[in-house]
Symmetry: C2
Subunit: 317 residues, 2 copies
């Protein structure tokens, strides 16, 4: 009988998706966040969690960093919708032997990230369990009707990213291999910051937007698939830090694998039409095309990207 790991995240999402009945549900399961219409505008809602051993290790992260990351990954999802987070609910599973000081410091980290992003924790729940799990739900609002979905992209749109990629995976690899130095990349990994202000600025001009939490290959596919489009990605335009290149070199790995199939970069990827390109402050990395194939272009060579991104159920953390 098939198990979760045989089907993967995408397969599971397909199984649970039902068309919304309530017409106020503009976006349901399958985007970075849900969007519902209210009398006063649009509300955005999302949930994401951190699991001990899968998303963090206590020897790499301080408790404050665990708390901050739990909030920031959710802010990133709200930001990718063009939303501004307002309230957070925190559902915790806590082992009995967790030290109170550790618990307090997780909360300090959560509040710190809330303050940075101008939101407040308004409720939550605590339960016992043998594994520390921090599940966060964020509620946010959208100004005007500037919400940005995965769908909405058009052929000819230019693709931009808000910053350098591959940091998340490179930071993880640096910790896994106990590499000395690479402080900037390691810090990016343990203290990611959602690109909230950036995303809010570009939202009115973008046809589609997504945060890069599961690797560029996967996120490009999420932008292309709903509109039956393809993309040309220009390899030498993809921004990669020197530290990331150096980590890949030392470990005999490919930095573009970090970018394409890694995860946890928390930059945003967005598609803008020609007339709005002057508003895009990010790094141009490619174009959307009508032909539904995603190609990586390097010098005169083309390579089709077939693999998807990070799969939460095939994780060798």
């Amino acid at each position: 009988m098939p198990q979760i790991k045989d089907i993967g995240e995408i397969g599971l999402i397909k199984r649970i998706t039902r068309p919304p009945k309530d017409k106020a549900i503009l976006v349901g399961i399958g985007d970075d966040a849900a969007v519902v219409q209210t009398k006063e505008g649009f509300q955005v809602l999302t949930t994401d969690c951190l699991v001990e051993g899968d998303h963090f290790r206590n020897d790499w992260f301080t408790p404050e960093q665990i708390g901050m990351k739990a909030i920031e990954i959710n802010v990133s999802d709200v930001a990718a919708m063009g939303g501004r987070p307002t309230y957070a609910l925190v559902s915790l599973v806590l082992p009995n032997n967790l030290q109170i000081d550790f618990f307090d410091r997780i909360y300090d980290g959560m509040w710190k990230a809330c303050e940075r992003n101008s939101l407040e924790i308004i409720g939550g729940n605590m339960a016992h369990g043998n594994l520390l799990v921090i599940s966060i739900t964020l509620i946010g609002e959208i100004e005007g009707n500037n919400y940005t979905l995965r769908k909405g992209a058009q052929p000819g749109d230019s693709l931009f990213v808000s910053g350098s990629l591959g940091n998340g995976r490179a930071g993880l690899r640096a910790y896994q291999h106990n590499l000395q130095g690479f402080d900037k990349t390691k810090k990016n990994y343990v203290e990611p910051k959602a690109r909230l202000a950036y995303a809010l600025n570009i939202a009115p001009y973008a046809h589609a937007m997504i945060d890069i939490s599961d690797g560029l290959a996967s996120e490009i596919r999420h932008i292309c698939s709903p509109s039956h489009l393809g993309a040309h990605l220009f390899l030498d335009k993809i921004p990669i830090n020197d530290e990331v290149r150096e980590i890949a070199r030392i470990l005999g790995e490919n930095e573009y694998d970090y970018v394409l199939y890694g995860g946890e970069d928390f930059e945003v990827l967005y598609a803008v039409p020609e007339e709005n390109v002057q508003h895009a402050k990010g790094i141009f990395i490619g174009k959307l095309i009508s032909n539904p194939e995603i190609k990586l272009i390097h010098d005169d060579k083309e390579e089709e990207i077939k693999r998807s991104g990070y799969d939460h159920f095939s994780n060798d953390f």
Copy 2:
């Protein structure tokens, strides 16, 4: 250094509570759900989770029942605020070896409970972990300004409950001791139903309301403490099913311990002023008094209730 189990849930909640800054936050951490003011009214938000081994066991619950319970316990929290749930977000931690059929049936159960309570799942998240955790966030709305808090009770208010108590603990004990029969009580335990319609009817007439998820002693305290009140509970008014009494008798336990210190009954407890008593369709169990002590009254004897209810961190499930 102190650990979670040394402090307990109440101690933890005290540590994390901060006064809200945003004036739209009418109720923050510390009630059954949060309430925020919107331009169009009041929104209610809550989160609660089920943890494998702590809240359910796969040999007692069918996957559908796990899914239903995950939704119903949250609906119960929204109902206790006088709210009507509209949307759910589902955050899952899934072991790799979980069978797809089991996963599908959990979702079937969640949707079934959603349909029963007229709400929809609009989003969620899936992560890998070695323990099955189902964390649900519900959003709901409040009609007019009929939200019912834990605080708000007045001396002289009558206390009512919506139905018989002790079922949750008695059902658990029946499963733990492998008792044959007691089908009604067992079913109440594995398939609790939130008292949504009931709570919505009484909300306009109640000074305070709470759901009885952690045992009557604890919930009475939550109603009394914010208003610095006490209560007289009349032992022989407390509704207890024959099956529950029989289970207690067989196991040599006290059925009033099930009621007072058990949990998972999911009835509502509410306080109504004299002039609204004719609207209370429930069972009268006591009165609120100015003197801040909670007494159980039986014949001519009085007994002060000192112990609190179910503590999630001292669970011997």
